[in-house]
């Protein structure tokens, strides 16, 4: 079965995170991962690079510093928006 963008993003985060905290999909999507120590600054760089590479997109400065980027649900929205714009 083809994975959704959401599942792909969650897989990437779980793969990269060294946190002991095992969170379910719902919590992981809604939690402010930057505030909760889910990832450190090294992982953030890896996360951005992996998402950009896997989806063939490039986040803008505004997207990275936006409130939307602070939850994984928001990150997924930004990824989807970038992908939609590519199709135009």
């Amino acid at each position: 079965m083809k994975k959704t963008i959401q599942q792909k993003v969650l897989d990437i985060i779980r793969d990269l995170s060294r946190s002991e905290k095992k969170l379910d999909d719902h919590t992981l999507l809604s939690v402010k991962y930057l505030d909760e120590g889910i990832i450190d600054s090294f992982t953030l760089v890896e996360m951005i690079a992996t998402l950009e590479q896997r989806f063939g997109i490039k986040f803008s400065a505004g997207e990275l510093t936006s409130q939307t980027f602070r939850t994984l649900a928001g990150v997924i929205t930004i990824v989807e928006k970038n992908l939609a714009e590519q199709k135009k």
Binding site: R18, L34, D35, L44, V45, L64
Partner: protein, 525 residues
Amino acid sequence: MIDAASANVAVLRNVFLENKNEVFLIDAGSGTAFTYRELEQTSLRLASFLHSLGIGKGDRVAFLLPNSIEGSFLYFACMQVGAVIVPINQRLHAEEILILIEEATPKAVFTTPFLLQEKGNMAASLGGARLITISPRFTADAQALRHGEPGAADLWKEAEKHTPISTRSFDTIIDADMLALIYTSGTTSRPKGVPIAFGKIISNAHTFIAFCAIPPGVRFLGTFSQGYLGGLYNTLLFQFIAQGSVVLDAGFTADVALRFWETVQTYEVTALWLVPSMLSIILSIDRGTVGETYAPRHLKFVLVGTAPLAAVVREKFEKRYGTALYENYALSETLFITTNASSLPQVRGAGQVIPGCGIAILDEEGHPCSPGVPGEIVVQSDYMTSDYFNNPEETARAFRDGAFYTGDIGYIDSDQYLFVTDRKKDIIIRGGINISPKEIEEVIAAVEGVREVAVVGVPHALTGEEVVAVVVGEGNDPRRIQEACMQHLAPFKIPASIHFVRELPKTATGKIKKHAVRALVLDTL
């Protein structure tokens, strides 16, 4: 007669006196600013609070706290009463924290309710140490703010309740008194305690500031964790002696990295203290133009330390942000030894020795190397410690004939600039933080089926070095090894990759050849 002790106390007193109304600390979270006068008055009251807890001169006090204004004030309160600051990194695993507590035997431990809960409620395992939980109000650490609990002590209320201690109590402090006890990972599995003497750290800061010609009023961004020496010295005490100010952020977290230049611009920061991996991260995730516009105009000093800076990172950063990087060389045991500065003819390597320090480069037989020839960096300085806390074996190994054998390899060129090129000692430096491979090896060796293990650091573009484990054993299941590491070690120590081999390269006497293991991993990669 004025002895050296009172001279250093006088230095601190004068800083308070001459900067009363100047801002010293700014909380990057709320923007709240605190003057030198507020620091002095509050820390004297908190000193009285410490007295009420039975904490006095020479008592060790452990701090397991996020970066916060309250924690900073408590550090100064400890100085006022002559108590010894023992910073503990909040990212450590509970087991690692308890080892530090066991080694340092503090009289009290300050922490937050959240950290206490996160670390599995260590209260019962603190030995005789008194536990005090506080809820910082002024911190850029979102977790600490959100998880504040009303049951914990509010330091501001405690300060209000207590009458300031007499400033005369400060006069009893002498140069030899221990200001802090810093735990550092080394070649052994147990961390080593480095006693930092009051007189040595104050005079080291003074000398460094004068050598670099850092004028009063410079504003630094504090992104080092206060759970390390860097957070206590480089981005708190140093700025105090320099009569500058600090914008206190929550360490170099993912969040801090994302809004780095925005914070620098908002708080009109004029100096940075960074480690090489921070430079790489900033370069990688900064997609805006704030840094490029702000840095060349307003940044006066960008100091870099704790790990060797790759030339390519230096060039990229300097080119993009139009600001010179001044690399220095320092260790917990020695404090600052060398630095680059605008007063030097050139900016090269880790710079030149500051007054009061001497370096020798010695070969395997202990003979001095010629200029340009690498050998072990051996330091003799007015600021270095002379031993490890309650650790005669490690002391005898590293401190010989009044010199400190750093375990770092480097050379001095014909113009007296130091270049740090390699490490003799078996440690990994990831993101500027020392990690003991032995500590990780012990955890992995205990996993069922593992016969032998070697943990090494391999070069990594972002972190400087990444932790890699090479294992000989049955089963070959990396998940079990990862899980064991997660159960016992801090997240930053967990191997990024685990390789299985049939045997490890060894010397004729059966000792694992770490350089060969490292080469093996690099070949595989």
